[in-house]
């Protein structure tokens, strides 16, 4: 069973900037753990009103994503809790110090940039958000009998926050950034999309809800090609002239999905049913950082339960496999006994010892709950022939505010 994250990012300069020869002011950075199970993503949109927006966005995206990934190592020895908030705030402070070094002064106005980021792990994660751009994702199931893979419609989303006016937003570089910082726990997800303001204009509707008619075909497109082609496919999607009708801003999207979602290379992706009302819209509501740490920790407790559920699931699946194997062995032995009655007594003694050893080899919890570490690299994802893991119900963030 494989839990690796596959991901791709692309940025395309918007027509308003390309016509004035202004470079793309978006930046993105992705950082994955060596085993591919943890993924940190940061997308930054530099402000056109700043003097060096691209420099600011580049530094913030790269530095923050790398710092965020370092948090994943701590989860092996520490339960998630309020300390995650402190960690995130400390990392933003450190990124701001780096910006000051780059600026050579205390004034960061030349580097105004938004930040939308997340850390995704095997059983959930959390998002970090200042200003516009958005992050959304959900679950899906692997290739079914009809050859389709389904994206569930219980999206979670961290929406853009712009303050009162449509043409103004919040930046990580502002003095009051912490007032506009939103940290939100995320449920377990099979796919996540992070986008800048322009990128989100393609995949969110006017009410800031994900557009299945964009998301599902895009994942379909990627699913039908090897990951080495993903970059050019996403680039072409963003650069499509039809996208210019939706926005003239720079467009950046980072798309990531678990390889368990892509077992069958020929699978098409379908949104389950756009007409079905959303059963569990786990909307990540805007939250403010320093207060309500309890809410964060309690939401993470749900995630811990999800881990336990996941383990139980593994165990019960294993018992089923053992039972089927056992039945096959019995059937085989009955056939042999029927065919060679003369060998009856000798074989019976072997059967006895076999059954006995089989039982004594029943797995201990520790052995069997550990998912095997996937050795296959991202580019070899299609060689994976794992069955879809029936996941425990996603512990939705359900708008937990912190």
């Amino acid at each position: 069973m494989s839990y690796q994250w596959l991901y791709i990012s692309a940025s395309v300069t918007g027509p308003s900037h390309s016509s004035s020869n202004t470079p793309c002011q978006d930046a993105s950075h992705t950082s994955a753990s060596p085993d591919g199970q943890w993924l940190a993503i940061a997308v930054c949109d530099g402000a056109g009103s700043a003097l060096r927006p691209k420099d600011g966005a580049d530094l913030v995206a790269k530095s923050f994503a790398n710092r965020l990934l370092s948090l994943s190592a701590q989860f092996s020895s520490r339960l998630p809790g309020a300390w995650v908030n402190d960690f995130v705030i400390q990392q933003i402070l450190d990124v701001r110090s780096e910006l000051r070094k780059l600026a050579g002064s205390d004034d960061l106005n030349d580097f105004h940039s938004t930040l939308v980021a997340c850390l995704l792990g095997p059983n959930g994660g959390f998002s970090i958000h200042i200003g516009d751009g958005a992050l959304f994702g959900g679950t899906g199931s692997g290739a079914s009998k009809d050859g389709y893979v389904y994206l569930d419609n219980n999206f979670f989303i961290s929406k853009p926050a712009n303050g009162e006016y449509a043409n103004e937003t919040f930046f990580i570089t502002e003095g009051n950034w912490i007032k506009n910082l939103r940290i939100t726990p995320l449920p377990q997800a099979d796919w996540v999309i992070v986008g800048s303001d322009g990128g989100c204009a393609l995949c969110l509707d006017s009410g800031d809800q994900p557009k299945p008619e964009f998301v599902a075909p895009l994942i379909t497109l990627l699913s039908k090609h090897s990951s080495s082609e993903w970059a050019s496919l996403l680039q072409a999607t963003l650069a499509d002239s039809k996208a210019d009708l939706l926005t003239n801003d720079d467009k950046t999207l980072v798309i990531c999905m678990r390889d368990s979602l892509l077992q069958d290379k020929g699978a098409s992706y379908r949104y389950t049913d756009p007409n079905t009302p959303k059963k569990n819209p786990a909307t990540a509501k805007p939250t403010t950082a320093p207060t309500g740490n309890h809410a964060l920790s309690s939401a993470f407790k749900v995630d811990v339960e999800a881990v336990v559920n996941c383990k139980n699931n593994w165990r019960s699946r294993h018992y089923i496999s053992i039972a089927i194997l056992f039945a096959l062995v019995i059937a085989l032995l009955v056939c042999i006994l029927w065919a060679y009655p003369s060998a009856h007594s000798k074989i019976w003694s072997q059967v006895n010892s076999f059954i006995f050893s089989e039982k004594s080899n029943l797995p201990s919890d520790e052995q069997k709950t550990e998912p095997p570490h996937p050795a296959n690299k991202l580019s070899e994802r299609h060689s994976s022939d794992d069955k879809p893991l029936k996941k425990p119900e996603a512990s939705a963030a359900s708008g937990t505010q912190i």
Binding site: A47, G48, D132, A166, E168
Partner: protein, 228 residues
């Protein structure tokens, strides 16, 4: 209540309230042989034409008009919020005194109403503008004037509104600089038409601006009095 029906047009809006001096002094005849008020009315016609030629401004700009003075000799709302697409210019009549302080307060109330209406309708908006054009001395009581000045300053500091003050020949510039942090600009000659064409272009630019972008307004040279 709003005069604007938002159902058919989900575009983000840029509201702009015009606070126009229609006091007796605006009856003065200019070098062109026309009265100032006639020039102002021509300017408003130019604003309508200019907005309607701009497809973006047409669906995003909305206007309200407050007159200061006039036959009623009071500050009155002459036009409630109206989308540019429905805007039809109408002539204003000059008479009476200049209760500019009252006019400013009505303007600020209209701005708050516009935001409330837009919020209720789920329509996003950029920061509203209040453009004040006067040719004289406010005639409000000192109390009324200072209340209006402090309200304007507070609203501007809280980024609730963007205030522009335009003086016509004879305006008291020092009084005008009391209610806005931006230096008042003087109208060169009677270039009302150029001023309103500039306003249309500027509102169009504001209505198109996006988060993080610096708003580049067109040059004020075509109408601004040189030397100030």
């Amino acid at each position: 209540m709003s005069a604007v029906d938002y159902s058919g047009n989900p575009n983000q809006r840029t509201p702009c309230v015009l606070v126009l001096d229609t006091s007796g002094s605006m009856q003065a005849t200019t070098s062109t042989g026309k009265s100032r008020i006639a020039e102002l009315n021509d300017g408003i016609i130019a604003l309508e034409r200019s907005l309607k030629e701009d497809s973006t401004a047409l669906v995003r700009v909305q206007l309200a008009i407050v007159s200061v003075g006039g036959p009623q000799d009071d500050a009155d709302m002459m036009m409630d919020w109206t989308d540019a697409t429905h805007f039809q210019s109408f002539p204003l009549t000059a008479d009476g005194s200049t209760p500019l302080g009252r006019g400013l307060r009505i303007g600020l109330q209209l701005v708050e109403q516009a935001k409330q209406n837009l919020k209720t309708s789920g329509v996003s908006y950029t920061r509203p503008w209040m453009m004040v054009i006067t040719d004289g001395e406010p005639t409000d009581s000192g109390e009324e004037w200072s209340a209006a000045v402090s309200e304007c300053k507070a609203a501007e500091a809280a980024k609730k509104v963007e205030i522009f003050a335009i003086g016509v020949e004879g305006a008291n510039v020092s009084k005008m600089s009391e209610f806005t942090s931006k230096p008042p600009l003087m109208l060169g000659g009677m270039k009302f038409k150029e001023l309103f064409v500039w306003l249309s272009a500027s509102l169009s630019a504001a209505s198109r601006s996006r988060p993080g972008e610096k708003l580049e307004l067109p040059s004020t040279d075509p109408w601004r009095h040189v030397g100030l």
